[in-house]
């Protein structure tokens, strides 16, 4: 109904830190002048490893509708294997952005009318020395490059605050590397 709201849906697995990643993006958006940021985790009977999703809405103005996103402008996929389990493009607007943590190049994916971006975040995270499975900060780098919505710097600052006392340097490095390694598919 309101056209000033950018809607981002995050698909992850329980335990992958999708909520933390969305919260970091929310913080960076707020400090970048978006007065309205609302992050709504969708709760059900989620378990570690099972598909989960989180809604993030961003606007220059206060957001009143806290309901989950049904027509996202962009979707973030924490694990390319989720593509086999979940219809991540459900409701995605024409020309929407799909960001996938995948070892495969973006050109390998074909979503009609959509823009696909990939980054091999598992490798990135491992190369900076993060424990296996800690990929949510790398995803933020992918997000920054793919959307151009926010500058990388406020995102890295938000990571630094969120991960205070828990390896902020490695997480920042993962985000920076994933940003640099993001591959762009052709719009089809």
């Amino acid at each position: 109904m309101r056209e000033d709201i950018i809607q981002i849906r995050w698909h992850g697995r329980g335990g992958q830190g999708a909520i933390t990643a969305a919260k970091i993006v929310a913080s960076a958006a707020f400090s970048s002048g978006f007065a309205g940021v609302v992050m709504t985790p969708t709760f059900g009977t989620e378990r570690r490893g099972a598909p989960v999703l989180t809604s993030l809405k961003i606007s220059k103005h206060k957001i009143n509708d806290l309901s989950p996103i049904t027509e996202p402008d962009m979707v973030v996929v924490f694990d390319h294997l989720l593509l086999k389990e979940v219809d991540v493009t459900n409701g995605l607007k024409e020309g929407g952005i799909i960001m996938i943590n995948s070892p495969r190049p973006a050109a390998d994916y074909s979503y009609k009318g959509m823009n696909v971006f990939t980054s091999d975040i598992n490798s990135v995270a491992s190369s900076v020395g993060l424990p296996p499975g800690i990929i949510n900060t790398g995803v933020i780098g992918l997000f920054a490059k793919a959307t151009g919505l926010l500058d990388l710097e406020p995102l890295l600052q938000a990571i630094n605050i969120e991960f205070e006392g828990r390896n902020p340097e490695k997480n920042i490095e993962a985000a920076r590397l994933a940003y640099e390694n993001t591959m762009i598919g052709e719009s089809r």
Binding site: M1, R2, A26, M39, T40, P41, N64
Partner: protein
């Protein structure tokens, strides 16, 4: 300082700033992260309070009753069946006139089990003698928790601060955490008129005979009925106190100013939608859309359910053609309780508006903006029987 956190964390920060001395709580979804955050504050030494892990909600409120009787500032929080398990002590706390503050993170009641949001839990305890305040967003949660202590300690009546489970409790949005010194200026340390004191033993709330009688000092003591009458009159007086506290809060923090009813686009409104909690903000977008179709409609969020702000309701609704009450609760066998209350408040108006009633969102049923748009448009157009249901799949 602005932060982006969940509604539960907003509440926990309010409790911390209010300098609660005793926290006693039993975890229940979706309240759990609130009490977890408080236990972290206490553990880290950020909050000078005793955290008492109890074995049930009944015990949680019993601990708060004891702590408050001893003159300290207690806090507890619960949801749904946890609130119902407290029910006996809810009435006790109100009858004993103890200024306890409790967050109720609104959730549907089992059976069947649900962990998701509606407001049947708080509504079902409407007549327990507690002040019931409702918040629409995180800023209101933290601000209302702080104000709740000022209200409770002025009128010696316990206060519930209610907010929607998940929709607010687990959603992240920006809010400002006020400065601790400024809050101390607004809410001074609690100094009760009397408190349990081992040096001066006394009985409190013993068996009270039906009629008045002399007490141990020979003074005429009120009977049970006088005590109930006093609770009622003080509850009505609480309306003035809520207003005074809101004005003071506004003058210091610059937030508030609508302590009973928060109106949106109501100045020239022919139709006004009314509800309690976060839904009233969601309806603002709906009202904006209907205004584009030249339907003169506004929305009001009710911030206080008990004491009922009937004068403010008459003042706000008196020139409207129609009132549309949307509720996440139901008085089974009749209609929405809020609808019935609003209808009664408007009975004496010269120009009685028509009033519609919609039941929605029970047990977390999603409330789609389009459904709200359709419902409000319908109510502005045709007469319909009540209550109507939104989102019912039958």
């Amino acid at each position: 300082m602005h932060v982006i956190e969940s509604g539960n964390v907003a509440a926990a920060n309010g409790v911390k700033l209010a300098r609660a001395h005793v926290v006693a709580a039993y975890p229940i979804t979706p309240q759990t992260p609130l009490t977890e955050k408080l236990s972290e504050f206490v553990d880290a030494g950020e909050m000078d309070a005793e955290y008492i892990p109890v074995e049930s909600e009944h015990s949680a409120l019993s601990v708060c009753i004891a702590a408050s009787s001893a003159g300290s500032r207690p806090f507890t929080a619960t949801s749904a069946n946890g609130l119902l398990y407290m029910s006996e002590q809810l009435h006790w706390a109100a009858g004993a006139r103890l200024p306890i503050v409790m967050c109720v993170v609104n959730r549907g009641i089992g059976a069947p089990w649900t962990v998701w949001n509606d407001q049947q839990d708080a509504f079902s305890q409407r007549d327990a003698g507690w002040v019931q305040l409702f918040a629409c967003d995180h800023q209101q949660i933290i601000d209302t928790v702080i104000q709740a202590y000022a209200i409770a300690e002025t009128v010696s009546i316990p206060v519930m601060v209610c907010y929607d489970g998940y929709i607010l409790s687990h959603t992240y949005m920006p809010f400002e955490i006020p400065d601790s010194d400024t809050v101390d200026g607004f809410l001074p340390a609690f100094s009760p008129e009397y408190a349990l004191n081992p040096a001066k033993p006394c009985n409190l709330n013993t068996v009270t005979l039906p009629d008045i009688r002399p007490d141990v000092r020979g003074d005429t003591a009120p009977g049970y009925m006088e005590i109930r009458h006093n609770l009622h009159t003080d509850m009505r007086e609480a309306l003035n106190v809520i207003k005074t506290v809101d004005e003071k809060f506004y003058s210091i923090f610059g937030r508030g100013g609508h302590c009973f009813i928060e109106p949106y686009n109501c100045e020239d409104a022919e139709y006004i939608a009314v509800c309690i909690g976060s839904l009233s903000y969601q309806l603002r977008d709906v009202v904006d859309a209907l205004r584009q179709d030249r339907i003169k409609i506004g929305v009001c969020g009710l911030r206080v359910y008990r004491p009922f702000p009937d004068e403010a309701i008459r003042e706000t609704f008196k020139s409207a053609k129609g009132i549309i009450v949307l509720e996440k609760a139901l008085s089974y066998g009749y209609e929405g309780a809020l609808y019935a209350d609003i209808k009664a408040a408007l009975y004496d108006c010269d120009n009685r508006p028509f009033i519609h009633n919609y039941i929605l969102g029970l047990g977390g049923r999603e409330i789609k903006t389009q459904q709200l748009l359709d419902a409000l448009r319908q109510s502005c157009t045709i007469d319909i029987p009540v209550p109507q249901w939104i989102g019912l799949k039958m």
